[in-house]
Symmetry: C2
Subunit: 467 residues, 2 copies
């Protein structure tokens, strides 16, 4: 609401060309709020606002924009203005921005960087996408182990300006080997004449530059730090990762998980920023694969066509039975996928999970089967005693039909729970991400198997009466 | 692997009663690694390890255990040992622990706290569950605005020990009103004689004590801070929240979202820590509700029973068609739910989303319909020319059946995408969490409607031939 009012005010000031007033209003806002306003403004007004903001403020606002939006701004503003902003971004943010831009624009942007900044951007770009090396920043403070606390604070005061974070500082030896990390707070708390080597805080934890996003998120989850050092395979310090970067990475991880569970390729961008054709491709691919899988249901149904002809009543419960299998499967699979992602479950727990899920499946199947049986008996009675219009006649063998539905549901729900809980383990064991379309795959598997279970049960129970 | 080896070593040392050796090995491990080992050890060995660890180390290890596990330890260890550990926990962690324990145990634990610690725990417990007030810690450093940077550092050195974080310090006036927050780093970077009021870093951002978990996560997401102050409605400072707490909260939020999308009540605990009956209740409830909803498919099918009798070939494609509707619906709903949760989409975007999704649905429906049509024509040809065993005879009107399936898929997939994308908006508008069982509800709605669309289309296209 507030945002809307301010946005209208801004647009009015721009139209009235009240630049002084506009500059004043902008100065009162937090850079992240200005960024949020900009996202909703038309492109030409955006340019005006960037030109009116003081250089420093413009860089801060720019840093808060989503990457897709930053790329647009970079392409539209003058070289002089953007090179100023780019040079003030932190190297890891700049790397991420460069990744989202078309190659030609990236080249033009790299040209605008100062030689030093260019070196940092190039170094970061050398690591494979998705690894710690790609997202670290080389902006940290390294200290010599022989300094006293007082000397260290003095050194930080003189050399620490503009570093991404100073919450942690790092003790390196002459060759660049990482020896320890110290909280800035621990140095402030120490007696001024204490040597850094005598200050004890939490044990050193570091991350390999080749660590994947999941490994990085796990390490932060486990050690509760706000920044961790990144090292190469010989233990030399390369840069740092901050919890803010990792927070974003963890959110992106959860988003991918949710999208994959929903049967879409991960979008890797906000919904409205993905073009219509790109969106169709990401959705149509999986949807077609699953559709082809679901065609086996038509084959299974053809196999039982003669039975359906003889007892059409069986067809009535097909959607109910296969959807129950699918739902119990997707329950199990979503629980297990998330637990695996959070490392609450390990691969070796599969047998324990199997036991639990088989029991759960049996219990849930009995419950649903019982409800289904009741419904059939009840509808039959209401059909004879109350109304022929609203209730269904399941024929003289309605009790047997009820028992068939009950037994089929026990089988289908148990199988759904079994398949749903084991598929994520199998995918993980084979080296795939368990979230990869597990839920729809489970549904397909359970639909086809569920039909076979249902008609199989029917053939046994209804032989000699309906079949 | 490493964990397994160490665990076996530890168990052996315990059995051999080599206490000195055990103490030595434990001293080399990071507290969070010790905690991880403890989780896998039998209860009696756990007690031994807690008794052998130095007091400080025991408290650190304890802090890294999951809350459910902490509660177990508290109940099993001696009063003297636990009161020591409890007094060393940070107040917010202690509050969360107290929440997970049965009331009787909580009372016994509160008795063991020092009077000061008890006051802090009680104050935190006064805020409703899930609000910022419940999870803040009152352990922060407050400074007077008139200090110089040098005086401030001296004050922090003398009074800052044991605070949850010193990365930020807070400027309060005499009445406790929050005036500004300063990074410790900014004070270290300032000239020693600069007044605190002259140090400028990022603008003040604060959180209300009554803010919900989602609001807190959003604020951290937006402002990229590692700690934020919590204030009451008059602007007085109450405590701080750290990004580490919020990281955990954001993960819990994503977990709930995933579980609800899978059609389970949120577990609120790791999979293996939820008892069998509790798990059944959380899963059986939703599963039954959805099952009752799915019963409408049986009613819909009964409605078309006569048509199925006349053209059993129609029944063959029922699972294929309703699952396609369900899959396209769950794709749309998972995309929209996550975008709403991350604030990438706002309520007011619904019309834009509707337009996009209707178009996507049409395009995806045409695609799947085309594949389905091809399959029917192809199988029919293969039936006549290759084998009567592996392929199906769809009868003399197979082209019309193919057209029916094609048109039904266009309708069903479009409806699925429409319902899947709009239901989260409707739930959010009504004040519910959009993730609440959206996916299974969409599936149910789409299954019933899908059947009606399918048979409706069939009645139009096949009238005079099959029907």
């Amino acid at each position: 609401m507030l945002g809307d009012i301010i946005r209208e005010d801004l647009e009015e000031m721009i139209r009235a060309q009240s630049w002084a007033e506009l500059r004043e209003v902008l100065a009162t806002l937090h850079p992240s709020d200005v960024a949020e306003l900009l996202i909703d403004l038309p492109g030409e007004d955006e340019g005006v606002i960037f030109r009116i903001l003081p250089r420093d403020a413009a860089a801060e606002v720019f840093a808060y924009l989503p990457h897709q939006h930053q790329a647009k701004v970079i392409e539209s503003l003058s070289t002089e203005l953007t090179s100023g902003m780019l040079n003030q971004m932190s190297p890891d943010d700049r790397t991420r921005l460069l990744e989202t831009m078309p190659a030609e624009v990236t080249r033009r942007v790299l040209e605008r960087l100062s030689p030093e900044e260019l070196k940092a951007a190039r170094a970061l770009l050398g690591y494979p996408e998705g690894t710690a090396g790609r997202y670290m920043t080389p902006e940290y403070v390294a200290l010599d182990a022989n300094l006293t606390a007082r000397e260290a604070l003095e050194y930080i005061r003189l050399h620490g300006k503009g570093k991404e974070t100073l919450s942690y500082v790092y003790i390196l030896d002459k060759s660049g080997l990482l020896i320890d990390d110290l909280k800035l707070a621990s140095i402030v708390l120490a007696a001024p004449d204490d040597k850094l080597t005598d200050i004890k805080d939490t044990a050193l934890v570091s991350i390999s530059a080749s660590a994947t996003r999941d490994e990085v998120v796990d390490t932060f989850r486990k050690y509760d730090r706000t920044a961790l050092p990144v090292i190469d395979n010989r233990g030399h310090m390369l840069g740092i990762l901050t919890v803010v970067d990792v927070f974003d990475a963890a959110e992106a991880e959860a988003t991918q998980e949710i999208q994959r569970m929903g049967g879409t390729e991960a979008l890797d961008a906000p919904y409205l920023d993905v073009g219509f054709m790109a969106m169709l491709k990401k959705r149509g691919g999986w949807l077609s694969i699953i559709f082809v899988g679901e065609m086996f249901t038509a084959s299974a149904m053809s196999h039982f066509e003669k039975d359906i002809e003889r007892a059409v009543v069986l067809a009535l419960f097909v959607p109910l039975i296969i959807s129950s299998g699918g739902n119990s499967g997707s329950q199990a699979t979503s629980l297990i996928i998330r637990s695996l992602a959070l490392n609450e479950l390990k691969l070796r727990d599969w047998l324990r999970v199997l036991g639990r899920e088989l029991l759960s499946g049996l219990a849930l199947g009995m419950l649903l089967g019982f409800i289904g049986f009741l419904r059939i008996v009840l509808w039959q009675h209401l059909y004879s005693s109350v109304s022929h219009n609203y209730f269904t006649d399941y024929g003289p063998h309605y009790m047997l039909v009820g028992v068939t539905v009950w037994a089929a549901l026990v089988g289908v729900v148990t199988f759904g729970t079994f398949a749903g809980s084991m598929l994520p383990f199998i995918l993980r064991r084979l080296g795939f991400d368990p979230a990869t379309s597990s839920a729809p795959f489970v549904a397909t598997l359970v639909d086809v198997t569920g039909l076979c279970i249902y008609f199989g049960v029917a053939l046994v129970i209804l032989r000699g009466t309906l079949l």
